[in-house]
């Protein structure tokens, strides 16, 4: 029997405990973080820390997502998506339910964050995003469902993070999941093949979305409609050249688009941008605080172990000395 689509969604309430059938780890549900087409994400308490747990009735899509998360955590030295912890099955009253556990990324959504900041932050965050996309594309993947709702600003220092990797697709395949407004297929400006240009189109649309928070519907579609939207907005018009290239797929890499954005901000007022850029650079070494904390933790452990061996050695030495002394006494 295949019951991939008709199972009723299981609702978990705070205080519920789920236990993995394979790894026997236990998670206490704290609250719901969000519900999507493929399942519900909860904030939960694991062994030590807070984690995000996604529970779903759809084994196929959840397994697919886990595959992506695992691939992303292999991209060296970078935390692109939320880091993956484990996957397991929870045997509930209604049968076995697959779930997976990942890092709980805390922060504000992109537009929420921008509401309290000056406009130059937006450019900086877009540059951060493009730098991460460069790494992702180099590793053979395309984000796919790129939109403000899937971006979170963690920090301080503010750092853009990706939330939902449901659309992340291997380069060359068909995009798995997308949102119409950010999809070049919807606007009639290209295919849904996973290419770096597909993500860059979406970045262009995020910039447009920032100027039109309510978005807009497709009328005639294509560059004609988008061009009008760009020209009618004074802020957006300044980005016209960059948007033109991004929406037409003229950037061959995310890096190129980032450089153009950087030039744009530097040209605007060189004094302003040098101060504005510094936080980006500062943020890169502290991209992964959990890792460095872990390292420190391990270091402590190592030191402790060294202390232990030293004590044991001294004790043994004294013991041998005492035995020799005793033997000397009896002889």
């Amino acid at each position: 029997m295949m019951n991939t689509s008709k199972n009723p969604e299981v609702k978990l309430t705070p205080g519920d405990i789920i236990v993995g059938k394979w790894n026997r780890n236990q998670y206490t549900i704290l609250r719901e973080l969000g519900a999507g087409a493929t399942g519900t994400v909860y904030l939960a308490r694991g062994n030590r820390s807070k984690v995000a747990v996604k529970v779903s009735h759809d084994t196929l899509s959840i397994t697919s997502e886990v595959n992506v998360l695992k691939h992303l955590s292999k991209v060296q030295g970078k935390t692109l998506g939320p880091s993956f912890i484990e996957m397991d099955d929870w045997v509930s009253v209604k049968g076995a339910l697959p779930f997976y556990v990942m890092e709980y990324v805390q922060g504000e959504s992109l537009f929420e964050f921008m509401r309290k900041r000056k406009e130059e932050w937006f450019g900086i965050l877009m540059m951060q995003l493009l730098r991460d996309l460069t790494d992702l594309h180099k590793s053979g993947w395309v984000f796919g469902d790129l939109k403000p709702d899937n971006l979170l600003i963690s920090g301080p220092p503010p750092k853009i993070r990706w939330l939902d990797v449901g659309g992340t697709t291997m380069i060359g395949r068909a995009i798995k999941e997308y949102t119409e407004f950010f999809d070049r297929g919807y606007w009639g400006m290209g295919s849904r093949k996973a290419e770096s240009t597909y993500d860059l189109f979406a970045v262009g649309m995020i910039i447009i979305n920032y100027a039109y928070p309510k978005r807009f519907d497709k009328k005639e579609g294509g560059w004609n409609q988008l061009q009008k939207a760009i020209d009618q907005n004074r802020w957006l018009k300044k980005y016209r050249a960059i948007l033109y290239k991004a929406l037409h797929g003229h950037y061959s890499s995310a890096e190129q688009m980032r450089e153009d954005l950087l030039k744009h901000y530097s040209a605007k007022s060189s004094v302003k941008t040098t101060t504005a850029c510094r936080p980006t650079r500062k943020s890169s070494p502290s991209v992964s605080p959990p890792v460095s904390q872990n390292g420190r933790y391990k270091g402590k452990k190592m030191k402790k172990r060294r202390h232990m061996t030293e004590t044991v050695l001294i004790f043994l030495f004294l013991l041998v000395f005492y035995v020799v002394y005793l033997m000397g006494q009896t002889m």
Binding site: M2, T4, S5, K6, W22, T59, L60, T63, S64, V66, N67, K70, E86, M87, D88, D89, A96, P98, G172, R173, A174, I175, E180, G185, Y186, S191, R192, K193, A194
Partner: protein, 246 residues
């Protein structure tokens, strides 16, 4: 790689059948022939979920081992794509499960494997979904009440073509409407790899009275080009699932 072909019928309707054979029975027949039947029920703007007699939509899809969804016209484009792709994955998953049971015995399926192994199997499912050939026969209800929804239907089919043609595998689409003028169904577009020319198709439709969903489905079953069995495509992937999960 020996490529297989998945066959689907996508039925787009806004109501119940009222003429001829029971469509749920025809869907069961389709299943025997290895054709999945997906059904999308379209609601009118002032209609609420559940109040309509669209239960038949679910029954047909369940019987035809496909996917069903009931939506308002404005969500049609995304739904058409989602339903088609979900049904593809489901069919491939079904075939893989059959192979797993065959290899591992004891009614073992993908869900019974440890999560790590499951991930490997899923990669195979994704890979097949990307490369497999697909034949979709689109069957559109053109009875009177569908009249104002047809432009949206047309747009979503174009969108479907964009999505599926972004895959590596080949696609064939055909569009039929029912009820036809003389027969149960009428051909609007013969098998074609792209739906770019769809623009003119729906213009010559005259929407009529009865809804013979059953007979329409039955005729559609015979319109697929003859090919070899789809089970063949599994041979290549045996190495991934050699190790038993128990």
């Amino acid at each position: 790689m020996s490529k297989g072909t998945l066959k689907q019928i996508l039925l787009i309707t806004d109501g119940c059948s009222n003429h001829g054979e029971d469509p749920v029975a025809i869907a069961a027949l389709a299943r025997e022939k290895g054709i999945a039947i997906n059904v999308i029920g379209i609601l009118s703007q002032n209609e609420a979920y559940g109040e309509h007699g669209l239960k038949e939509v679910e029954d047909i899809a369940m019987s035809g081992r496909g996917v069903s969804q009931i939506v308002y016209a404005n969500q049609l484009a995304q739904t058409v794509k989602m339903v088609t792709q979900k049904a593809m994955t489901q069919t491939i998953h079904g075939m893989i499960n059959k192979e797993l049971t065959h290899i591992l015995g004891d009614e073992k399926q993908m869900e019974d494997l440890p999560p790590d192994k499951r991930g490997q199997v899923m990669e195979v499912v994704d890979e097949i979904g990307e490369t497999v050939n697909l034949e979709v026969l689109i069957l559109v209800d053109i009875s009177a009440s569908m009249d104002d929804k047809l432009p949206t239907v047309q747009e979503s089919l174009l969108d479907l073509s964009i999505s599926l043609n972004s895959r590596t595998g080949d696609n064939q689409f055909a569009i039929y409407a029912f009820p036809g003028k003389k027969q149960s169904i009428e051909r609007l577009m013969d098998w074609t790899p792209q739906l770019d020319t769809i623009g003119k198709v729906f213009k010559k439709i005259s929407t009529g009275g009865i809804t013979p969903t059953g007979p329409a489905l039955q005729e559609a079953l015979d319109l697929f080009p003859e090919r070899r069995s789809k089970r063949k495509l599994l041979g290549e992937y045996d190495e991934y699932i050699e190790e038993s999960g128990s």
